[in-house]
Amino acid sequence: MMKANKNLIQIENVSKKYGNTFALKNINLEIFEGEFLCLLGPSGCGKSTLLRILAGLETNYDGKILKNGKEIDAIEPGKRKFGMVFQSYSLFPNMSVEKNIEFALKAFKYEKQKINAKIESVLELTNLLEHRKKFPNQLSGGQQQRVALARAIAPEPTVLLLDEPLSALDFKVREELRQQLKKIQRDIGVTTIMVTHDQEEALSLADRVAVMNHAELVQISTPEEIYRNPKSFFVANFIGTMNNIYNKFIRPEDVKISDKKGCNTHSGIVISNEFRGFYRRIKLKSEIENEKKEIIVDIPIFHHQDRSFNEGESIHFNLPQEVVSEQIKERIC
């Protein structure tokens, strides 16, 4: 990630209410210049509202938004010069690809001589040169998405706002576009804030991830940190699957199946066994220190190929060292 960059956007105590329910509750967040920040959370958590507030599209809220230390709350969306890509792309259907981009450039009063060169360069960047004369409905979903991106970055915005830009696309296209998006963002170095509900997308794209739930910001960190050290069970469970053992979060892939009984070994009975491609997910019924537990174990597909893990079968598993209980520590390990 880009380190030691200066703080570009500051969100201070932002709250928004719809009637009696909070859409946003006391949000405080710094965004650094050049970083790719993902706002991640389930639907209805307020992430899109926060993005719209940043864009200037929502006006009634408490708190402040600062850019380079100056309040921008009263500044109109267009004057903020933030580029935005909507989930539905919002491409004007009656304008060709280049006309859509030209529309944005003209609205930002770009000099006439520079418009063509700019269109050319963003089309090249987004790999759309051959489609420049086409209309949105002649393009695939992925191509439309790229046009929306091209239109948003053409006027060289200070901040790029992306509202679930990939969620309307097929899985394959989504993965492909994710890489392109990351590359483009790196190339032009624009500060980017993306809203998504897809944890995989957030982890793979972002420099930092801000996890939101119930109108509140619950954790903000690098993807690795969020994955390895979730601060709450919500974050833990939202980002992948978690076992909660002795109030510690154990990822299913950190539970190891073992053949022989050791001092940190437990036993359990298989209650389900799902084949998931590159790994196998097994649910176990177990008893750890007199407490009944359901343990989820992910086993890479090339491990234990000789075993079948049938339902009802009793197996042994090891927990990681850090969750060894005091009682076990007393035993000789």
Binding site: G78, K79, G83, F86, S90, N94, F108
Partner: protein, 567 residues
């Protein structure tokens, strides 16, 4: 801390919303309030309670015209629904040929003023009618029979359209399941088809009932001495200048119209629920009996519609029907007659102006209501007001307008305050006819605009805002171009209706300007029936001409839009 993005743009938007609301409030709500107040006041304007109602009920004519109106509306609705159902069935559920042509023929009555059916009936069954001698002496077309037949023609295309839409989409799996159970054709029709179009039938009945109840043109021409509510209302206002009783009588047109509007609304909601999931069409199977039967039926109806129109066309180009059948165009030389302020071109111009401003107002208002959020209470009020004209018969609108624009001062109800009527200067000008046309036909184009706008991404304005583009730019560069086909449709709808309408304008025409439709009534009254026929036929052809231009323009537009239009 409350943030407000006050800017020129937002002020302008609020002003637009406010002025649209004021337009609707002044030209829809206030005249109706004025009408209601008049029905409760004496000629001096003092409140008299229900005295006018009592007076109106005391007159024996009221009961006769009410009963006549009910008979006419009921019979013509039933007759027309039966025929329209057959015709709609033929064009949706059978394999008959030339469906497009048949559909266009079914639409022809929309292009004609209702007077035309009366005139054709006179030529066929009137005193000198060609078929009159086949009937007994006691039979007379002047009266209920004539009105019922004329109204059946008038409402046919409206009912056909409703039933056509209901029959067009259906859940094929129901029929397939019935086939598996070996159900017969008639059984399938009664058990599946009829229930699935139940709401369409209800809507059709009420639309037909209201249209024939409130029509003035046909009973005026063919009614003879038989009065219906519509002709009686006009008698009070135009004949006796008794505005109080006229207002009371017109309420008897407003109430059923309003009632049927609500039932219709309810029905259309239910109809939507009926088709909530997976209605897809399946291929129609060959059925020889069905093919032959419905071909004969559809051709029969088409021949009658065209024949009916042809009678007026033919009679209008003969020297003296039915005695001297030498062809002549003298009846089309309208300058031969003194028709006080009548002028074909002026009529067309007024219709064009009504269509032009009507389309702009309808579309802009639909846009403001649908896509903007600036003054929500006013937007909601405008939405409500926009639906009222649907329930407002032309006669009622016309009377409300005379009452409103004719009074130099307006008193505010329950107070003694009187304010000068700033709009009184419009009385006696063609402007009032333009406004009446716009308001009278407002609701359908409003709904057309709304449904066109609904298909447009609601994030366009937000997207454009982030691009520093003004709302006006997006309105003109995106919303208008996308909605152009709907705008054309609205325009031609306003135009055609402004050409054929008689009910509101009969009260509002002036010495300087008399529309063609009003001139028809005048010519018929003075015995120049051939000229009345010529005028009616001219309206039909002007409308067909306008329609052809519309079709041509739509085709051109579609070629240009083919690349990008997915709607």
């Amino acid at each position: 801390m409350l943030k407000s993005n006050f800017s020129l743009q937002k002020t302008f938007l609020s002003l637009m919303i406010l002025s649209m609301f004021l337009f609707l409030f002044i030209f829809i709500a206030i005249p109706i309030i004025k009408l209601l107040l008049t029905s409760l006041s004496d000629p001096q304007g003092s409140f008299v309670g229900f005295e006018n109602f009592k007076e109106y009920f005391r007159q024996g004519e009221f009961r006769t015209s009410l009963v006549n109106s009910l008979i006419v509306s009921f019979s013509s609705s039933i007759i027309s629904i039966t025929l329209a159902l057959g015709f709609a069935f033929a064009t949706t559920r059978t394999n008959i040929k030339f469906k497009a042509v048949l559909k266009s023929i079914a639409m022809i009555p929309l292009f004609a003023p209702t007077m035309l059916y009366g005139i054709s009936l006179i030529y066929l069954f009137g005193n000198q009618g060609i078929f009159t001698k086949f009937f007994s002496d006691s039979f007379s077309i002047y009266g209920l029979w004539g009105i019922i037949i004329a109204e059946s023609f008038y409402i046919f295309p409206h009912l056909f359209l409703i039933l056509y839409v209901s029959l067009r989409s259906y859940d094929s799996s129901l029929y397939e399941a019935a086939d598996m159970m070996n159900a017969r054709g008639m059984k399938k029709f009664i058990k599946i088809t009829l229930p699935s179009i139940k709401y369409g039938l209800i809507t059709a009945f009420f639309v037909g009932f209201t249209l024939s109840l409130t029509d003035f043109g046909a009973p005026k021409i063919i009614g003879g001495r038989t009065n219906v509510l519509a002709t009686e209302v006009s008698k009070y206002i135009l004949g006796q200048q008794n505005f109080q009783i006229g207002a009371v009588a017109s309420l008897f047109l407003l109430i059923p119209a309003g009632l049927s509007f609500f039932i219709e609304n309810l029905a259309s909601k239910r109809q939507k629920a009926f088709y909530s999931h997976g209605s897809k069409n399946f291929e129609l199977r060959k059925n020889k009996f069905r093919f032959v039967f419905f071909t004969i039926f559809a051709v029969f109806i088409s021949v009658i519609i065209i024949g009916f129109l042809s009678v007026s066309i033919f009679a209008s180009v003969t020297t003296l029907w039915p005695y001297n059948l030498k062809l002549t165009l003298s009846n089309y030389d309208f300058s031969r007659f003194n028709m006080g302020g009548f002028n074909v071109w002026k009529t067309i111009i007024v219709a064009l102006v009504s269509a032009f401003f009507g389309s702009i107002i309808c579309f802009t208002n639909a846009y403001l209501i649908q896509k903007e959020k600036a003054l929500l209470p006013f937007q909601k009020a405008s939405r409500l007001l926009s639906m009222i004209p649907m329930a407002l018969p032309g006669l009622v609108l016309g009377i409300s307008y005379i009452l409103f624009f004719n009074s130099p001062t307006l008193s505010i109800p329950f107070t003694n305050i009187k304010i000068p009527n700033a709009l009184a200067f419009l009385y006696g000008t063609p402007v009032i006819i333009v406004i009446a046309n716009i308001v009278h036909f407002y609701s359908v184009p409003y709904l057309t605009s709304t449904s066109a706008l609904k298909k447009i991404d609601s994030n366009f304005q937000a997207a454009a805002q982030t691009m520093n583009a003004s709302k006006l730019t997006v309105f003109f560069k995106v919303f208008i171009p996308i909605s152009l086909p709907s705008l054309l449709e609205i325009f031609v709808y306003f135009f055609t209706n402004s050409m054929v309408t008689i009910s509101a304008v009969i009260f509002l025409y002036t010495a300087n300007f008399k529309p063609m439709s009003v001139a028809i009534i005048g010519m018929e009254e003075s015995g120049n029936i051939a000229v009345a026929a010529a005028l009616s036929v001219s309206i039909v052809f002007i409308n067909i001409f306008a329609r052809l231009i519309y079709i041509g323009l739509t085709r051109l537009l579609n070629i240009k839009r083919k690349k990008w239009d997915k709607f």
